[in-house]
């Protein structure tokens, strides 16, 4: 869980991270980058599928988050569309904007860390 709001007087940051996790290599990358960002405390990973399924707890958590970070695999942008549908603010990162070609680029540990580092530096900008 991202946290209890009891100790922060309501001014603490809660960044929630959602990843595409689709079938292609880009979905794989988005998923792994989300886990790296969560590991590095850039935010808390949560469930994009639950958002798509309109599960109330996830929707309300997104509405109350400081930032919703959506990691889409490709320009189809399914994650972004889910947030647009619900009228919830978000910041989108698309894996193919990081020199990754859908269906071709091998997803390696080095690539995951490099993309995570680049996104981490842009989350608050």
């Amino acid at each position: 869980m991202a946290g209890c709001s009891c100790g922060c007087d309501g001014d603490c940051e809660t960044n929630l991270i959602y990843a595409c996790s689709g079938a292609a290599n880009t979905g794989h990358l988005a998923d792994q980058v989300m886990r790296a960002l969560s590991r590095d405390k850039a935010g808390s990973s949560t469930c994009l599928a639950a958002m798509g399924a309109d599960l109330s707890g996830f929707i309300q958590s997104a509405r109350n988050a400081t930032r919703n970070i959506v990691l889409d695999g490709c320009k189809v942008g399914c994650g972004a569309k889910i947030f647009e549908k619900n009228g919830i603010p978000f910041k989108q990162f698309i894996m193919t904007d990081f020199d990754v070609e859908k269906g071709k680029t091998p997803i390696t540990g080095d690539l995951i860390e490099a993309v995570a580092e680049r996104i981490s530096g842009q989350i608050k900008s």
Partner: protein, 79 residues
């Protein structure tokens, strides 16, 4: 009707529970008020910040201490 207060027992969670009990009393309705303190159960409901309020399994509010009047609005089916 089932009203759930989700949180690990912090002062804000207790305050939300208090407001929920006051709201139920003011409306004079029959409602079971349940405290959900188990982290896994809270996470299963998709709640990433506490305290949270759910009515009949539908999460209405996350990370806020609703006032009694706000809880009343939710209990009336508003918002």
């Amino acid at each position: 009707m089932k009203v759930q207060i989700l949180g690990m027992g912090c002062p804000k969670c207790k305050l939300l529970e208090e407001h929920a009990r006051e709201a139920v009393a003011e409306l004079g309705i029959q409602a079971e008020i349940e405290k959900v303190m188990d982290t896994d159960a809270i996470m299963d409901m998709g709640v990433m910040m506490t305290p949270a309020l759910a009515i009949d399994g539908d999460v209405k509010s996350v990370g806020k201490v609703l006032t009694k009047d706000q809880v009343i609005e939710y209990l009336k089916g508003g918002k």
